[in-house]
């Protein structure tokens, strides 16, 4: 009986780690810019659509000069998608940061509102380019399909997604904790004015961190696309769990976000196994249960944004 749960646990792990990736990018932006980026879901969606355009000939960019490119085998195209998707999301994120500059120093609410407006604009742009219909992202044969082990069917892609997301979380942790760049980012999240006083270029740091956070959203979008499909509003489905994870894990805590992500992923996947319709509600019930007893989540610190 318990063994039957293994495929669901893998699904949950994949979902949870991807949510955590999204949440970590969101938290970096909160830390350094003190901005709640409501466009984070749109950046996720952009990552998915760009991957679609790179992977599939019918994915919105049916230009004749692209034909020799689509003749390439699937694997190199997929690798290109893994790079270009986050790259485009990152560049758009940097553009957003340029707009946000005018709101620094005033009420954080203005930054939040600006990103909400930007989310509207991005979503409408996506509708304009790709239409409202649903797409599926084709992936190379090696990571699609499934296999049977024991009596259970496993989806190869879910395992790949879980491993990929875990690797990304690991790389991100190493980057933030073992490199000088990571040290500056963490210091910026702690007290950005002091980082400026120490002679770092804060303007450039903010630009790069926003781009980096957006790129994390973009890559989560690329990986999630084959699981969820691609719709203009898919970002909302992804970003809400990410918000829940942030409140659950607590703002500013790396492992808080990762453990909350895995918890949410597992809870959603396990409820989905038994009560499909209500799977997302379990996530909110978990949230209420945790924050009723721990108002800053599992590992949150007090934040400037609370004041």
């Amino acid at each position: 009986m318990l063994l039957n749960l293994i495929p669901h646990l893998i699904n949950g792990l994949a979902l949870g780690l991807l949510f955590a990736l999204l949440a970590l990018g969101f938290m970096l932006i909160i830390g350094v810019m003190e901005v709640i980026n409501l466009a984070h879901g749109s950046l996720f969606t952009i990552g998915a659509y760009v991957a679609l355009a790179v992977m599939a000939p019918d994915g919105g960019l049916p230009y004749a000069f692209m034909e020799p490119y689509y003749a390439l085998p699937a694997i190199p195209r997929y690798l290109i998608a893994l790079v270009v998707g986050p790259l485009v999301a990152g560049v758009i994120g940097m553009g957003l940061e340029l707009c946000l500059r005018r709101t620094y120093g005033s009420d954080p609410l203005y930054g939040l509102l600006l990103t909400f407006g930007a989310a509207l604009v991005l979503e409408e742009l996506i509708r304009e380019i790709w239409g409202s219909s649903e797409y599926y992202l084709p992936v190379p044969q090696q990571i699609s399909g499934g296999f049977i082990a024991g009596d259970l069917i496993y989806s190869t892609y879910r395992i790949y997604a879980a491993v990929f997301a875990a690797a990304m979380v690991g790389v991100l942790w190493l980057f933030l904790n073992k490199t000088p760049y990571g040290a500056v980012i963490k210091a910026g999240a702690h007290d950005s004015e002091m980082v400026r006083a120490l002679g770092y270029n804060l303007t450039r740091l903010r630009l790069l961190v926003f781009g980096f956070g957006a790129a994390l959203a973009g890559i989560a979008g690329v990986i999630m696309a084959p699981i969820w499909g691609i719709r203009p509003v898919v970002g909302v489905d992804a970003v809400i769990p990410a918000f829940v994870i942030i409140v659950l894990g607590g703002v500013g805590s790396f492992w808080g976000a990762v453990s909350a992500g895995i918890m949410v992923g597992l809870v959603v996947a396990l409820t989905a196994a038994f009560l499909t319709d209500w799977s997302l509600l379990s996530m909110y019930l978990l949230l209420l249960a945790v924050v009723t007893f721990r108002s800053r989540g599992l590992a949150g610190k007090s934040s400037v944004l609370e004041a």
Partner: protein
């Protein structure tokens, strides 16, 4: 905080702007068709103005950014429909039921929110908005899910001796106008009362208000509950206008759009901001919408530019204009204070 409401409070029940708004909205059905619009847009505008004025108590006056408020509009609409179908199809009863039920939902929600601030408040309201959206979409026995609760009647206005029909959009408009008139008077008094003063202080600095001895949590809880009750009334009117209760207004996008309307109008600096914002939104929808299907793209862009360059919205621009005019005249310094 760059700007705030006019610091002076008033004890007047009727001020110039209130009288003006009553005259403009009161005569609207007479001239709206001659400016190229139609009666139904007047109904929509007034309903959303009611919703936005209630919401601005929370967002503008208390500085609590709720991103789940659309859910309460939806709850009001469902409550109105269900009260009508299941209990007693009387307008007053159903309106009171919509108010009470929505306020009760708000009161329970606020228990989880009233001790939170800033980002945690915003994220928790998103979560609650999604919970209600989710329940409404899945509990199909009650809400009929994506199909919506259909055939909600426009109940006649029972005045004891006479019964007035509101089947026509023009007639429904005057019911909305009556609700608006009562609400605007009450809200004006409320925001200019000591209670309103404390709300504005909470927006400035919650910790200090607590030090002075005000029960901050109770204030936040009560203003959230009241704001939800008003959303319930707006939802009831909306259910009659649409002759049905639908789930789409409960989505995150609509909850965001109400924030956008209030802000674009200048709800942060003026009592009247939400009114301007709602009018701008609906007129833009119809005028831009006539030219392009992606009007929301242009509206969103306009909003982004506004937040960047003029975050105080339309009302802020107006106040700047008035200030500049008084400055060019050799007026006493005290007269440069903006009018609420």
């Amino acid at each position: 905080m760059a700007m705030d409401y006019a610091p002076k409070q008033t004890t007047a029940w009727i001020t110039g702007p209130i009288a003006l708004s009553l005259v403009v909205f009161g005569t609207l059905p007479l001239w709206i068709e001659s400016v190229g619009l139609y009666q139904y847009i007047g109904v929509e505008v007034l309903i959303w103005v009611i919703f936005a004025l209630g919401f601005n108590l929370l967002l503008g006056y208390t500085g609590l950014p709720s991103f789940g408020h659309g859910a309460f509009l939806g709850i009001g609409a469902y409550a109105f429909g269900l009260a009508q179908f299941e209990v007693w199809p009387n307008l007053w009863f159903c309106l009171i039921a919509a108010f009470t039920v929505t306020a009760a939902f708000g009161a329970v929600t606020a228990l989880f929110l009233s001790h939170r601030r800033g980002i945690y408040f915003a994220l928790m309201t998103i979560a609650f908005g999604q919970i209600y959206y989710f329940i409404a979409s899945k509990w199909t026995d009650v809400t009929h899910g994506e199909d919506g609760l259909l055939n909600i009647a426009r109940l006649p206005v029972d005045l004891g001796l006479v019964e007035l029909s509101i089947a026509d959009n023009g007639q429904l408009y005057y019911l909305c106008f009556a609700v608006y008139a009562v609400l605007v008077l009450l809200l004006w008094r409320l925001t200019n009362s000591p209670y309103g003063r404390v709300l504005r202080a909470i927006k400035q600095n919650e910790t200090r208000v607590a030090f002075v001895g005000h029960p901050v949590g109770l204030y936040k809880w009560s203003v959230f509950t009241l704001s939800c009750g008003i959303a319930g009334i707006a939802g009831a009117l909306f259910a009659m206008a649409q002759e049905g209760a639908y789930i789409n207004v409960m989505s995150l996008q609509w909850s965001g759009i109400i924030v956008l309307m209030v802000l674009i109008g200048g709800g942060f600096v003026s009592f009247w901001g939400p009114v301007f914002g709602v009018i701008l939104y609906f007129v833009a929808r119809d005028v831009l919408g006539a030219y392009t299907e992606t009007w929301l793209l242009w509206f969103g862009l306009m909003f982004v530019v506004l937040v960047m360059f003029k975050p105080d919205g339309l009302a802020g621009m107006w106040q700047d204009l008035m200030r500049r005019r008084t400055r060019t005249q050799p007026a006493p310094v005290a007269a440069t204070k903006a009018e609420g």
